[in-house]
Amino acid sequence: MAASRASLHQVARNSATSSIRALSRGVDPEGSQRKGRTLLQFLADHFCDVEAVREYLLRKQALKVHRKNRSFTYIKERYGPYVAGAYFVLKQGGAVKFQDNEWIQSGRGLSSLEFRKFREVPVQAVDASGCAINYQGLDNLLALKELQSLSLQRCPHVDDWCLGRLHQLADSLQELSLAGCPRVSERGLACLHHLQNLRRLDISDLPAVSSPDLTQILVEEMLPNCEVRGSDWAQGLKLGLEEQSRDPASSPVPA
């Protein structure tokens, strides 16, 4: 049996190399461009370039987001997950609150003194509203095991896949806001049932949710101990505003 297996491998290898050779033969006929550089050829080449450039730009956009979401391994090794997480959030333009400390806004950053000071202090709250956090960048937040309050409002790259990871914060998380996240849908909300300690959840203004009212009811059923702020609150506010602005116009001014 062993011998036959060896020979089989031999055959497989042979076949692979010979097929590659055949392949390169098949590739060649490009050389038969006898017609010269016709106008059509020129146009085709030219358009290829434009397309390639646009594809490159598209890829670059995606790369930019990835780069922004890299972890700071050095800081993590040196100062632990809390400082690394806080540094990441501040760098992204968010705000953090260490336990028994004031909020730190993004503009300020961390001094080297604080780096050392906060090494052992858990992060209690993170406000990452509008930040470019994605699946990969979430690593930094998921390492904050004492995190109680997290706001991901209007984060353009937070999607259902990200929500699928929040179970890692199930022991601590009490407050979560996803309001205005364009890529969060009811499918992702379904896995928030892991967050059994959640007391407040904001899921208002989610454009990707197909039926917001039904979704809110189902989420409330799923998380009975949690106050869910959903669509009607935001809608009510918007309606209220509209009424207010309409009022003076609709009531004719007595002459």
């Binding site: 036959s4 497989a12 590739v27 890829r59």
Partner: protein
């Protein structure tokens, strides 16, 4: 799903009529160029996002480097990775031959779209993890300039496998392997299960494993169309027709141990055009067999298994169509939003479908009760007798339910060990397989496509070592047994 299929069919019909007047044959080259340039201009003009999804020239080219038989998710994935991994832009000419562009019988669109890492074989877990990464970043992998992003509709709700006392040890072992490979899976006791999912009756359940991340279900159509759109933009050629014959030559050789073997090489694939008696030969260097449930037939066409039984020459590709039913039911008191895909120890599975208390599920029949795969008709008694009783036992709320719809599809069932067949045939030296994945081919397609492309281009697996899935295992009798099959 049906509506979409109809819509597609309609759209194709319109297109086909519109372009029916175009000539083929000698002017093909010219036509190709013109349409190519047209497409490019269209894509650059503002608002020109609408692109015909289907190739205009209905005749396949006379030559291609790689011919892929079957335009389902596996065939398209192989095409994608071949183009993506080619050394120079446009180096390989890839042709995908698909006999039915409405995909009315293709398993891909008839599947339930699940993805999970809860397998027992490390290879399957790795394939699934790779695919999850692919699906997560689908809009980067399959981005096409000017086309809207894909909405995969991924439900990250996880799979919940239940085990009896007898199966508990196996489950524990499997979970250990899954965790080693990097999957996020947790074990649950019946007590924990009751707390988390109060609608489950835990009688007879000793242990459960629950996937926390990267598991759930998605829209197979979206993946299929996304791949189609992308490979088309990469220059892959499409042709609607059926592969009916291979023209090959053979050479006799002797192995080191003195056995005589006949090596075959396919030179030409004959494609029968849709709705006509016309045959078009396509010269090619490599053939990829991705014909799903029909790949056994394709292999036979190429001469696989024609020889004395017990020899390598006489070893067939053990892939055949097996009919599987999927039922969709409504149950107002059914499990809520938190419900994962539940795989019961009886073999019955179900999951939520949308928000309106709809659920879908089914069960694989026992080996001796396999239905006739001749057509795709649904057996409603099967639900009443085989699916519903264990289902209602496990989830008592399902005692009152109303079946609303049902359909059937074919598993590309590998009768040998229910696992995929990947890589070259040892004797038909330029035929590669990407088939036989039984109930889990959809979720593994992104990774399998890559593995096959690596095999074709480099001669060996690079990202994931799939040697246990090579064809030779059928001859050697080495089963790659998977314990977690639905």
């Amino acid at each position: 799903m049906l509506r979409r299929a109809l819509w597609l069919g309609l759209r194709r019909g319109l297109l086909g009529r519109e372009l029916g007047t175009r000539r083929g044959g000698s002017t093909l080259d010219w036509d190709g160029k013109v349409s190519n340039i047209k497409k490019k201009i269209q894509s650059i003009l503002p608002g020109g996002a609408w692109k015909p999804l289907y190739d205009t020239s209905h005749l396949p080219p006379e030559q291609a480097d790689v011919v892929i038989v079957g335009g389902g998710v596996l065939g398209l994935s192989v095409a994608y990775w071949l183009k993506r991994l080619e050394k120079r832009r446009g180096a390989i000419r890839v042709l995908v031959v698909e006999r039915d562009h409405t995909y009315s019988q293709a398993s891909t669109v008839l599947s339930v779209g699940g993805i999970r890492q809860q397998f027992s074989l490390p290879e399957n877990i790795q394939l699934s993890l790779f695919s999850a990464e692919f699906l997560r970043n689908i809009n980067e992998y399959l981005a096409v300039v000017d086309d809207p992003p894909l909405d995969l509709q991924f439900n990250p709700s996880g799979y919940l496998f239940l085990a009896s006392e007898k199966g508990a040890a196996t489950m524990e072992n499997n979970v250990k392997v899954q965790r080693q490979e990097g999957a996020k899976v947790c074990l649950m006791s019946p007590e924990q299960l009751r707390k988390k999912f109060p609608w489950i009756n835990t009688e007879g359940v000793a242990l459960a494993s629950y996937g926390l991340e990267n598991e759930g279900w998605f829209d197979p159509w979206c993946l299929l169309q996304g791949l189609r759109r992308k490979v088309q933009s990469m220059g892959v050629l499409f042709c609607q027709g059926e592969v009916t014959r291979f023209v090959s030559s053979s050479t006799h050789m002797e192995t080191i141990s003195g056995e005589e073997v006949t090596l075959k090489r396919i030179h030409e694939v004959q494609v029968k055009m849709d709705c006509s008696q016309e045959y078009q030969p396509v010269e090619c260097a490599i053939v990829v067999n991705a014909a799903g449930a029909w790949s056994g037939q394709i292999a036979e066409l190429a001469g696989v298994g024609k020889g004395l039984p017990g020899t390598l020459q006489g070893t067939k590709l053990p892939v055949e169509p097996r009919k599987r039913y999927v039922y969709l039911w409504h149950c107002p008191q059914g499990p809520g939003l938190e419900a994962p895909l539940v795989a019961d120890l009886s073999g019955v599975y179900f999951r939520r479908e949308g928000l309106g208390n709809n659920y879908l599920g089914g069960c694989s029949p026992a080996e001796e009760e396999e239905p006739d795969p001749g057509n795709l008709e649904v057996d409603h008694d099967f639900f009443q007798e085989k699916v519903w009783p264990p289902l209602a036992w496990r989830v008592p709320a399902f005692e009152t339910l109303k079946v609303q719809r049902a359909w059937a599809g074919y598993y590309d069932y590998n009768t040998f060990d229910q696992n995929g067949v990947v890589g070259p045939h040892p004797l038909i030296v330029n035929m590669y397989f990407a088939t036989g994945f039984s109930g889990h081919g959809l979720q593994q397609a992104p990774a399998v496509g890559r593995a096959v492309a690596e095999m074709v281009l480099e001669g060996h697996f690079q990202t994931i070592n799939l040697s246990p899935f090579l064809f030779t295992r059928f001859y050697l009798g080495e089963k790659a047994l998977e314990h977690c099959i639905l």
